[in-house]
């Protein structure tokens, strides 16, 4: 190889490396973009069962008495918060369009005052966008003193647009400690 060819090869290598690095940076950008894109995608489709986190107005639709929907309430706590959440009724039957009130009791079984928040999730996820909450304790965090009990309301409506294939909705509330998001209390010996 003469020096001119060598120079050409070197330029070619430099060009290829530059282009590969650009592709690499694009993929890094794509990875970072995937995180907000995933949230937007889930919000639009309701695929991860997350419901709206602010109050919605009552839909003006007529009550569809031809359908009855079973709404189940499930509650669970997460590590790091000595709280207990209980639904007054585990199951209610509602007609689509009907505005319903349900009561939940929060109790702090721990020995100090702390704050937590109940995060809702609907399954099947097809129902997430059709479950409208007018009032919910899940919109803000709660404070409870040690040993305190507090009753909270949930006002909701099942949208008549709920797909015909769905006749049972499960609303799961998970209690999370507030202010401490990493919740890791797992101990290693």
């Amino acid at each position: 190889m003469n020096s001119q060819q060598q120079q050409q090869t070197n330029q070619g290598v430099a060009r290829t490396v530059r282009r590969t690095l650009v592709a690499l940076l694009l993929m890094v950008g794509f990875t970072l973009a995937l995180i907000p894109l995933y949230d937007v995608f889930c919000e639009v489709t309701g695929l991860n069962g997350k419901t709206a986190d602010t109050a919605q107005v009552v839909g003006g639709q007529a009550v569809d008495t031809s359908r009855r929907i079973e709404v189940q309430f499930v509650t669970r706590t997460s590590p790091g918060l000595p709280w207990h959440l209980e639904a007054e009724k585990k199951t209610v039957w509602v007609h689509p369009g009907e505005v319903t009130l349900a009561h939940f009791t929060f109790s702090n079984t721990g020995s100090e005052r702390n704050s937590g928040r109940a995060v809702p999730s609907i399954s099947p996820s097809e129902g997430a966008r059709h479950f409208r909450k007018m009032e919910c304790f899940c919109f803000q965090k709660q404070w409870l003193d040690a040993g305190e009990q507090s009753e909270m309301p949930l006002v909701f409506q099942v949208d008549p647009g709920l797909p015909q294939s769905v006749n049972k909705l499960t609303l799961a509330y998970t209690l999370y400690p507030q202010g401490q998001v990493t919740g890791g209390t797992y101990e290693y010996k």
């Binding site: 190889m1 070619g12 690095l21 690499l24 993929m27 990875t31 998001v181 890791g184 797992y186």
Partner: protein, 535 residues
């Protein structure tokens, strides 16, 4: 000419001993280093597999504590994927790509040295976690959050650091390979004249560039979640653990093809040599490889059928996954068509290559079974999955690497591998590997869950067979070490330049063993379509 004088100058002032290997920029020496490291890691990961098989030999807690069992299954997977199979293919690329395209070295020799030496550091860090408080990674090689974040042992940050280093090494290696293939081919060698091993590696390198940043991103998010209070994968803080699985498998599925595409290239080199025929359907092989690579980006969620995907998504990922069977089928068809009416002889590389074709196809077919979304609800996380991916990785990728070693050892060392030892190695490996993994299909279909140190009594017979097979396969790999040592010490039949009668390609123009510096001037290359033997 500056660089050539430098290259020759360095030959005289070459450092000796350990510094020679630390500072080498020669593609053959770096290739050898990669291959030796991967052989070492193969035995480290293999030992972990044997600990797992020893525990599973009988039901009950018999040999190790469950915490250690979890670390062994996890580390076995990580070491085999990132420490054994990937570096082995990079080592083969280093050795073979320059000599197959008539280049004097890789395009970026110093970067090449850096890529390699990152790996021993990465795996030292990874293995050191086993001796830390709380133990090493115990969450499976797929390190799903929150197992790998909230509930992970404290050593997880070291695991992340090790993975980052291995990932940087892969990215730099891929850049180097792309730059070499696109710029350093001998004059007249067009892209469609390149040997298939070079083609498959070019496509693999692009896959690495595309998905390694995703892996780096996902482990960085884990690091932030663990140490800096973010909540990418933590539902309590508004994150989503399922996001982890999407990101991981967006990397993970192309990664699977990173571990098999170069194997396709190796088999496409060996089968024509010993069938004494041109490869059937060269162009379709190239297009099939490219199609597999492209499809690998749209199938990731077939690993996640059971996380609660909507029906349309399950159908999409089911069909796109099955579509991959088409280009893969084209490849198997082409190999068989190459064998058809060939003058076949059964030298050691050919035995491994033929075993690859049969066994890889078994793994491919169980893959089609797993692609069926409704059936996958039954197979998910059972030993059927373990059987499937081991069939494509061990009798598949590992056999292809062994075939490559037997095929090119005469070129690397100048002597043929010992046939008696090689035959014993081949037959014991075939028997051992099938005895290990074939019964797992049945225990899996019967419902035995993976990654659990104990199992119900009805799986006992299958597990006895698997464990015996595992030890047979593991021990017989020592024969391969013996073969390599004999070759390295030049004990055996001397090989001529054209070590295999029917072999084609520029590397066979070089003397055996290939000298340290080759093709300082680009060799004369006659493209196959202009070759006199064709008219």
């Amino acid at each position: 000419m500056v660089s050539e004088t430098l290259a020759h100058g360095s030959e005289h002032s070459q450092p000796r001993g350990i510094l020679r290997w630390l500072l080498t920029t020669n593609h053959k020496e770096i290739g050898t280093l990669y291959l030796l490291l991967s052989l070492l890691m193969f035995f480290v990961g293999g030992t972990m597999a044997l600990i797992v098989r020893a525990e599973l030999f009988q039901p009950g807690m018999t040999f190790v504590v469950p915490e250690f069992f979890n670390q062994m299954t996890t580390m076995h997977g990580l070491i085999m994927v990132f420490g054994a199979i990937m570096p082995a293919f990079v080592g083969l690329a280093n050795w073979l790509i320059p000599v197959q395209i008539g280049a004097p070295d890789m395009a970026l020799p110093r970067l090449n040295n850096f890529s390699f030496w990152l790996l021993p550091v990465a795996f030292t860090i990874l293995l050191s976690t086993l001796f830390m408080e709380g133990g090493g990674p115990n969450f499976g090689w797929t390190f799903y959050a929150p197992l790998s974040t909230t509930y992970a042992p404290p050593s997880t940050s070291f695991f992340i650091l090790g993975m980052h280093l291995a990932g940087i090494s892969s990215i730099l290696g891929a850049i180097n390979i792309i730059a070499t293939i696109l710029n350093l081919r001998t004059p007249k060698m067009r892209l469609m004249d390149m040997p298939l091993f070079v083609w498959t590696w070019l496509i693999t390198a692009f896959l690495l560039i595309a998905v390694m940043p995703v892996l780096a991103g996902v482990i960085t998010m884990m690091l932030l979640d663990i140490n800096f209070g973010t909540s990418f994968f933590n539902a309590a803080g508004g994150g989503d653990p399922v996001l982890f699985q999407h990101l991981f498998w967006f990397f993970g599925h192309p990664e699977v093809y990173i571990m098999i595409l170069p194997a396709f290239g190796i088999i496409s080199a060996i089968v024509p040599t010993f069938a004494r025929k041109r490869l059937f359907g060269y162009a379709s092989m190239v297009y099939a490889t490219a199609s597999i690579a492209l499809l690998s980006f749209v199938v990731w969620a077939h690993h996640m059928f059971t996380v609660g995907l909507p029906l349309t998504a399950q159908l999409f990922f089911m069909y796109s996954t099955m579509l991959i069977a088409v280009p893969t089928g084209v490849k198997v068809f082409n190999w068989i068509a190459t064998l058809f009416r060939g003058s076949i002889s059964f030298e050691l590389p050919m035995l491994f290559a033929l075993a690859f074709i049969v066994q890889f196809t078994i793994g491919g077919l169980s893959g089609v079974m797993l692609a069926i979304a409704p059936a996958d609800f039954q197979y998910h996380d059972t030993y059927f999955v373990v059987a499937h991916f081991h069939y494509v990785l061990v009798p598949g990728a590992v056999f292809a690497i062994l075939a490559a070693a037997y095929y090119w050892l005469p070129k690397w060392t100048g002597v043929y591998p010992n046939v008696k030892l090689g035959l014993a190695h081949f037959w014991l490996s075939v028997i051992g590997v099938n005895l290990t993994f074939f019964p797992m299909h049945f225990s899996g279909l019967a419902g035995m869950p993976r990654r659990i140190p104990d199992y119900a009594l009805q799986f006992a017979d299958f597990n006895v067979l698997s464990s015996i097979g595992g030890f047979l396969f593991g021990m017989s790999q020592l024969l391969f070490v013996a073969v390599v040592i004999l070759c390295a010490r030049k004990k055996g039949e001397k090989a001529p330049a054209q070590a295999w009668e029917g072999a084609e390609g520029l590397e066979w123009q070089l003397p055996s063993p290939a000298p340290l510096h080759t093709f300082d001037t680009p060799p004369e290359f006659i493209p196959e379509r202009d070759s006199p033997s064709r008219h």
